[in-house]
Amino acid sequence: MGLSCGCVCWKWGSPLRRWRPDGGLAGFSKLLSTAALAPQICIVGSGPAGFYTAQHLLKHHQLAQVDIYEKLPVPFGLVRFGVAPDHPEVKNVINTFTQTARSDRCSFYGNVTIGKDVMVEELEQAYHAVVLSYGAEDNRILGIPGENLSGVYSARAFVGWYNGLPENRDLKPDLSSETAVVLGQGNVALDVARILLSPLDTLRKTDITEGSLAAIACSRVKRVWLVGRRGPLQVAFTIKELREMINLPGTRPLLDSADFTGLGDAIKDVPRPRKRLTELMVKSALETPGEREAGRWASATKEWGLKFRRSPLEVLPAADGKQARGVRLAVTRLEGSGESARAVPTGEMEELECGLVLSSIGYRSLPLDPSVPFDPKLGIIPNSLGRVQGVPGLYCSGWVKRGPTGVIITTMNDSFDTAQSVLEDLQSGVLNLSDTKEGFKSLRSVLHSRGVHPVTFSDWEKIDAAEVARGKLAGKPREKIVDLQEMLQLIGH
């Protein structure tokens, strides 16, 4: 046994060395009860955080039983419902998660809502350790007048809509106007812009839902502005996604050269990632395009652009008072530089005409259960290295631990970190294994009495097979089932 940096490998000695059968039944039943020495660990949430935490625990502890709970009947969280349909490679992590779910010491229990069907305190009674990995299901609000007008949606809901998240199924976004404004300049903002402007033939071959594909086919949106409060040096999107947008067939970029002149000097000494990202924007804005690109831009029927130093003040209503017709923006200037630059109003204002407003200013976690500490200002569960403050035996990983930013690798590292804390606490005795816990066994009957029927991983695999089969008929990787009842009926619930 050794605790080395980054990896705990903790093996029990052979059970035979600890429990010597005395020849009678009593001795053998003691042998069988070594199962009681297996840590019972519960994970709430089956997205990347939940699965990477489970993976690390199972790999580095030879006896741990890990149960993953999920409120939906289907697993994988944002990998299924957040990653854009035209980014299937990013979803390859589902393969490794599937392997984890199928392993002997792992069980998946879908269709169980923690905080409603069963409380965290009940989980703590059933398990030695409970890890909260339930992510960020809500979004930050703008807090400006007109935010609730028709035609205004959070990017989170729009992404949920085209990705088949059941709760966003009936969004019916209004795509009847020519111009859309996305507030925010992160990768989610680029995703929604790209899905709005992509050639239909591209979208048709993805796992975008049938319903949203039909709506986008009737869309009149030709122009998407991505509006940010700060400048080009503060954009939050990354270079691969920007490159994709610049090269999007049938579109041309609208970049104001005034925003980019002189930026070359400002980035001389910044780290390579920011430098290359800025150089790509500068090149697209200031350099004469090559022949092929010039031809593409000339024949483009759709366009997208970046507007900087504009902060939303109000969504303006149309004559009927119900529909969005534009956004009033405050012109800002920057104080400070780099990542910590602040946008300060100049007093000047502008109006930008549009019929569709998507706010893409961040996801937000919600408190789960009164017994779990939650910081509403930061939107996270207060913790130290994944150990929830003041609650021994309770841990957290992923966005609910750190905040809702980062790509899958960020969450992966973070989840390994939390798993590490659990493993350390198992080894040091902070988590007391002689305190027998029964895991799911002790919850089964109470869930049943509450009318809750968990969906197993092999149930999910039936839903998965049905989606893939339906998709095949349409030339898509899958046709997602967007109705909860339909999912449950398919598996005989």
Binding site: C7, K59, V90, V93, P273, L385, G406, F416
Partner: protein, 133 residues
């Protein structure tokens, strides 16, 4: 006997590669010429946590490896697509590459690569550099 005789336990068409894992342990294995370093890790079932999440499709940076300077210089040129993903890797160095884009060659026999430390190992309260989704 001449010291240049190949080890009898390594087949002549296989290349020896050493991976220095995050915990300092060296994992030594052999690879077929033309295999990417990600394929080596997968095919040889090496115990490197979270390696190759996107399965070699340039959609993540989890196969990030650090090379020795002289070896790094001789690798095939890096593409923009690889650099775009490498830019998001933790602990990026001047001799970093993505393992899924580097293919083993005979001349690399005895190659040693370092698996970079994750954020998890920089635990003394260092603030994680923010990367937006």
């Amino acid at each position: 006997p001449p010291s240049s005789l190949p080890s009898p336990t390594v087949a002549p068409d296989r290349v020896t590669v050493h991976f220095i894992n995050r915990d300092g342990e060296t994992l030594t294995t052999t690879a077929k010429e033309g295999e990417s370093l990600l394929e080596v890790v997968v095919n040889q079932n090496l115990s490197i946590d979270g390696f190759g999440a996107c399965e070699g499709t340039l959609a993540c940076s989890t196969c990030h490896l650090i090379f020795e300077e002289n070896v790094f210089q001789k690798l095939d040129a890096i593409t923009d697509e690889e650099m775009d993903m490498l830019d998001l890797a933790y602990g990026l160095t001047d001799t970093s590459r993505l393992g899924c884009q580097v293919c083993v060659k005979k001349a690399m026999d005895g190659l040693t690569v370092q698996v970079p430390m994750e954020v998890a190992d920089l635990r003394k309260g260092l603030e994680v550099g923010k990367q937006s989704k």
